[in-house]
Symmetry: C2
Amino acid sequence: MATLKPTVGFIGLGVMGNSMASHILDAGYSLFVYTRTKKKAEALVQKGATWVSSPKEIALYAEIVITIVGYPKDVEEVYLGSEGLITNGKPGSYFIDMTTSSPSLAKKLFAEGNKKGIHVLDAPVSGGDIGAKEARLAIMVGGNEADYEAVLPIFQLMGKNIAYLGEAGNGQHTKMANQIAIASNMIGVCEALVYAKHAGLDVEKVLATISTGAAGSFSLSNLAPRIVNGDYSPGFFIKHFIKDMVIALSEAEKMGIETPGLSLALTMYKKLAAMGEENSGTQALYKYWQ
Amino acid sequence: MATLKPTVGFIGLGVMGNSMASHILDAGYSLFVYTRTKKKAEALVQKGATWVSSPKEIALYAEIVITIVGYPKDVEEVYLGSEGLITNGKPGSYFIDMTTSSPSLAKKLFAEGNKKGIHVLDAPVSGGDIGAKEARLAIMVGGNEADYEAVLPIFQLMGKNIAYLGEAGNGQHTKMANQIAIASNMIGVCEALVYAKHAGLDVEKVLATISTGAAGSFSLSNLAPRIVNGDYSPGFFIKHFIKDMVIALSEAEKMGIETPGLSLALTMYKKLAAMGEENSGTQALYKYWQ
């Protein structure tokens, strides 16, 4: 079909963002990009993206804008700062935050956008740098369903398991549930390895034996072997996991629910960060015992 | 082949034991059985097993004896009591404890057996009542490798994933590592569900979204849906899980390793047992939040 494609903007060109933006460009969309460190945009600009110098400009030129930045404070600045997207946005625009960020902030951005006739979605992802590169991210979307459907073709350029979870904030809440499940499991995986090692077992044999049964998990199959090999390189940074757990804990507290496993995991990971491991992968929790 | 099959004894005819003994009988072995509650042996006796009234008699009649009883104190009684297997055993016998029990006790039984020329193996299983019924248990074996190989044909009647893990106690240690990994993960699975529910999410949709990614686990795929359906029936009893965690914690303390996740899980499950949930399935941890 020769329908005119909407112009897309992309803010935040880290490892994830670069791959994601690249898929959009490859699909033939006009792409405007902005990121704090201009150098990170070079490869995309060479492929045909247009660099601009602020979120404000993106808001002026693009009809659909995707953001994937660092922390909730960065999201807030990108959307609500004086040079921000919503502050300067046109009615009818679609703004999609794919940062893992606070559900409460997602609701606020939705409400602020709504006042100006701007469609805001929260759509955090799971799947890491490899998922981003291979365009098979899981994407968890909150906001209006009609808005979700309108931009679904864009999501489909980046992910496979794309789910609409309901009202604004529900994408972030779903991601938080995901991180909560991972947090305690990482403790169990590391403890099992520490126990097996101290018991004098052949740890690789133990993993082969227990990974396929009731103790089985993604982390046991994918991260435990890295630990056994002494590989603590980041698939997912400890500092980002801490950010997510802080958000999840804050939301859980607002709901009045106890999360003893999450609290324990956060305490342990903060200790690791203090030991200088914040840029290691989450499997470096194993070093808690060293 | 028309080789003479060894006579087998089986002690402990709970749901697991009954299925396991039945497979041995079906394979054409002569089977002597003993269990504290005679009624539990009825079906096997009707199929051709011979009931005897003590472990001592089993030790006299059988060349290979399998035990799968309740608690370490039961194991100790069955092996070392005045009517026990080792107390009354013949040199050259093979005694295999498939109870999930203490690694320290397994080492003790091995040593005591060794004094009398009796081959003792520890071989706890994983896979539950369905695994036992379908003869696809995981079996984790510790003891002498030659002894393991001698009785492997018997293990193959009951399981699929059968592993020799090294010296006496290592089967139990591997099972402990398995339970340690499960313990913390159960907290994470339940917390994620509690969070999702309180956040007002469609919990089934959340599970479908997060089960296939980095948060994925056997428990998330198999036990979380039961929780969503309010099904707390036992695949694995809380009281047995508590027994296992108490053993694991005791062994970890002997090794001088900290197990904060295991300790937390044990505290939470003990609270549930005190609430009257000891005969519920482990997924009833969810009720901790009710």
